[in-house]
Symmetry: C2
Subunit: 120 residues, 2 copies
């Protein structure tokens, strides 16, 4: 209990803004965490990403990638070729987000199981 309380006092205080809110301001929204999670598996090309995230369209994917690049979470590499080739990968900073995504993914698995066995 006291361990959790320490966390609470350290992390919960929202004087200079809630830290959870700070995280959401960068990786919130419908797509960013999903995109980053795809990149954990390694460098991906634009169309590769789009195909692996079935519901996203080009415009959305472009926008989200641009914002992630602006916030230094991913690196965009353009190869001067025809047809074009652009690769996206996690930056070192982006990789610091992997533990958060792992926590989310694990919880998501359990959540899905729970919703299969216990439909309430």
């Amino acid at each position: 209990m006291s361990g959790l309380d320490e966390y609470a006092s350290e992390l919960e205080e929202c004087v200079s803004g809630c830290p959870v809110e700070a995280t959401l301001s960068v990786v919130g929204g419908k797509w960013k965490a999903i995109i980053l999670w795809r990149l954990v598996g390694g460098t991906k090309r634009f169309n590769e990403l789009q195909r692996s995230i079935s519901q996203i369209n080009r415009k959305m994917l472009t926008e989200q990638l641009r914002e992630l690049e602006r916030d230094n979470l991913i690196i965009r590499t353009v190869y001067q070729q025809v047809p074009p080739k652009v690769e996206y990968s996690l930056s070192d900073y982006g990789r610091t987000f992997i533990p958060v995504m792992q926590a989310m993914a694990e919880w998501g698995l359990v959540h899905r199981e729970r919703n299969v066995t216990n439909k309430s």
Copy 2:
């Protein structure tokens, strides 16, 4: 590296839907994680929550709380009093989400520090 790869193969596969996406479907959006994080500190009344999340208005808070209750993450307790008293607290299931929030909060702290020291 292989430890991470195991995670990747287990968690990244999105055949039955990406687990990160599954998590976002329940606690995604602008407010839910923030509300849940407030409740880690213990039971809160409606107005207490509203005051502690300065940017949220009553309508949004009501909606988000209703959805969190519907998904069994929080418990709503109504006291038959005038003026009304309604308390919100994390359910056992909601508490399983604490590690994810902790990961988010920790990353948020580091992110903020980074943005203070390195304004790029």
